[in-house]
Each structure stands twice: as C-alpha cells, then as structure tokens.
C-alpha cells in the first residue's frame, strides 16, 4: 500500500520545514544582492553568493496557473482527487508550487488572491504550506 509522499528533509531545506511546522512560510534572501528565491538552494541563483538568509514571506499571493489533478503520480493521493495543483506568485515576487484547498477552491481562477495555511501530514513534525482563496 503506497503512502502519501512526504518531503525527505535535508541539510539545505531543514530551516524551511522547521518554519512550516511553526506556521511560517520561509524563503531565501541573498545577503549579497538581496534576491529572494524558492525552492531552497545552496547558492543565490543570480549572483552565486553562498550567504543566504531565511526571511518570512507574508504568505499572500495570486494564483498564476492551476490544474485539477484526476490521476496523481503517487496513487496514495487518489482518495483526494480532484486535487487543485497550482503555481502561486507570492507578493514578494517569487513563484511557488502548491495546492489550493478549501470549499471555495472549486471556483478558482487565475489571478485569484490566496493566503497560505499549513496542513497537517501523517508525520507530526511536517506541515505542508498550501493556499486558500482569500476574502
């Protein structure tokens, strides 16, 4: 029986998952050039600085694109279909991939405002940042 996929937390992204467990959406900020980026990496993708700080994003953004998933790659997710998989542009100007959840998600459109919420998983230490339609 397949289990729902969970992140394999590593030394690069441990702070991100620690933040998520505490209800914070953390993204990386380059100490040298100020660039913000996601997903977590070992260098700034602009200037190659290895000095990166973690900053808390407001957790607000807009739906950039979305797809209703009927056939998940991992069959363990089948019980949840259709799943609204989406790209979100955070207010800070960074694209992230996540889900749009909640009752109102059925009417989701590109450009809709969303806000992060943190979803429980099978692991007590891991919470997943997902998004709900705002307002």
């Amino acid at each position: 029986m397949a289990e729902k996929s969970l992140p394999k937390i590593n030394k690069i992204d441990q702070p991100f998952w620690q933040g998520a467990a505490e209800g914070k959406l953390l993204i990386q900020k380059c100490r040298a050039c100020g660039k913000l980026q996601f997903f977590p990496r070992v260098v700034c993708t602009d200037c190659f600085s290895r000095e990166l700080d973690w900053v808390q994003a407001r957790g607000e953004g807009k739906v950039h694109s979305f797809s209703w998933v009927f056939v998940p790659r991992n069959p363990a997710f089948k019980e949840e279909v259709p799943i609204c998989y989406a790209t979100i542009i955070l207010e800070e100007g960074v694209i992230v991939e996540s889900r749009v959840v909640g009752e109102k998600a059925k009417a989701v459109k590109i450009g809709d405002k969303v806000k992060v919420v943190f979803q429980e998983t099978a692991s007590p230490e891991i919470k997943l940042p997902v998004f709900e339609l705002a307002g």
Binding site: S5, H64, S67, Y85, A86, T87, V96, E97, L128, V130
Partner: protein, 383 residues
Amino acid sequence: MRRRKVCLVGYGSTEYSRKSEEPLLRHYAQAIGAALDQTGLKKSEIQGFSVTTQASPDYSPHVAEQLGLELDWVLNGDYGGAGGVTSVRRAADAIEAGHIDVAVLVGGNSFDKSVVHQRPLEYQRANYVDVYGYGGPNTLMALVQRRHMEQYGTTLEQIGKIAVTQRENARLNPQALLRDPMSLEDYLKSRMISDPIRLFDCVMPCSGAECVVLASEERARSITDKLVYLVTDAEKINYQVANMLPDKTTFGIKVVGDRLFADVRREQIDLFELYDDYPIAVMIQIEDLGYCGKGEGGKFVESHDLSFKGNFPVNTGGGELSVGQAGLAGGFLHIVEALRQLRGEAGPRQMKKAERALVTGIGWLSYGRNLGTTAGLIMERRA
C-alpha cells in the same frame, strides 16, 4: 554551423508494443542490428556509442559490454526528451574533433520488471512538487497550457488540431501503435487527466528502441549515397532558471531557434519534427521558433495544414502522440522520421520535397518554469 562536415548515415527502429516485457537489451540489439544492416557497417566499426534511457542499470559502458562493443568513445545521453538531439550533438563534436569516425546512438524503453525504469525524483521534485499529489508531467504541462489559454485565448480546438492531424499522419505509419481515426470530438471528449490536459494530449508509454548512426563526411561517402548532413545544432539548458517570475509559455527553444536560424533561413525548412510530449508543447515550439508571434500559435495552427501533405508539415510519422513513447527513445523517433523523409524512405507518407528538416527535443519539466532541457538541429540532404 558545424566547422567540419558530419553526416547522419543510417538508422534502425524496433517494432513498438504496449506492455512487452522483452529485455531492453534485446530492443537495443534489434535497433542497432537494423542500423548495421542498413549501413553495411560491421560491429567492429562502431567506435563511439551512446545510450539514452531512464532504465537505471543501463550505464552505457555496461550495455556496451553486454553487446560486445570495444569502443573509443562512450556517452550516457540522458537529458530527458532532449536526449536524442543532444546525443547527436555530442557525437558530432567527437567526430569533428577527430576522436572517432563512426558513432552509434541508441535510446529505448521496456517494461521488463527485472529493471528499474525510473530514477528517484530529484530533491526539488520530491520535496516541493510530489508532496502535493501532482500528476507527473501531465500536471506540470497542464499549468503551461492553462497559462497559454488564459494569456492568449488559445482554444482546445486549436490545440486538438495538432493531435488530430498527427493521427492522420500516423495512419500511414506501420510503426505507430495508435492508427485508428481520431476526430476533434474524440479529442475533446477524451478523459480528463490533469485539467486541461486530456487523455489524447498524453503520449502512450510503450517499449521499443531507436538507433541513429553518425559518421564523418569522408566515411559517410563510403557508407551511403544518400548523404544527410548535420548542418547546425544548438541547445539551451535551464532557460530562465534564475528568474523567480518566469514566462511559463516560452521555452528555451526560443534561444535554440535564434541560433539555428543564424545559419539557415526559416523558409528553407521543409518539415518539422517537433518533440511532442503534448500538443501544446508543439504549438509553443512553433511560436518559439519564430514562425508566428508569441501567443499566435493557435491561429497559426488553424490556418496551416500540418499533415505530411500540408504547407507546414509537423511530425509526419504521427509523432510520439500516435506512435507511442518508448521512454527516452522518444527523442530519437523524431530524428529517425526526419531521416526517413530526407532519404525518401517514408513509404506512403513520403513528402514530395524533403531536403531540410528541423528536429527538436525538450525534456524535464522544472520547478516553476517549464522545460529544463531544450535542443534542436537542422539536417539537409545533398546529392
């Protein structure tokens, strides 16, 4: 433009099947054997050898050992769907440099259960994509397609026309697994997989292999009188990687196209073998290659005949959408079909004039953006 002359001198294909558990090695051997028969080359004349696959034990030196090949050059041409074109580029570089005169490139897939066929997901896919229950590449391309439809008003009918026309081409291709007629209505009514991607937007995984043989011009003249030259080729890896607000509807193929068309004029191309993991990807490549403006792909498709008899022939053998996708052999399928057309060996779907072909490969949908690997080449038949 290639500094020295390199030719594509032959090819070999296996039959495709849906669920065959035949060992992948047998598929490789069959495709390579067909290419050796066509070119008259002996096994001992293979100096360079490349394998393109996601089957994990198939590291190319190991495959070569099992096939009894002693070599002077070896490559794992594993760059997703771009692996066919990029392998040709690497082999052509080695021939230009004088390291080898003959290279055999093979790609394939099987459902042999004794072999692991997929690599583990890379870190960003595992930790930031798969955890949300995504539907694999179908979902990631669905995000691209929805953006294209929203930004430019592209319709499902326009996208579907690509799949429908390729099916018409496939009806004359005995290798194609999907040869039944398909109407636009069939396309529109096909089962939803990852909205707006439907079943007939997706390739059918299958087993089989494709092989391509390259040689220096001097050597090529002793192998065949059907000389097909590699004229120019280019690649772009991780286009827009540092852009946190990427344009999802433009691929690295835009940069590839600019480089290719520095050497050849757009109107000199007779046929287009564009990597077709999805019809929307074909439409976007037509835009990125500059045959119409960004966002005008829908209207372009509507106003052109994409069949092998048409005024803008695309995927004349049916493409991966109708032939089937034998894993990373998919990147080679387009090269082999271009060779068939340029050599006049395409049978009932042979084009009247096929002197120059443009072939692309695209692969690996990356985080937040679109294609991680993109590549293209132009080949030309000369007397």
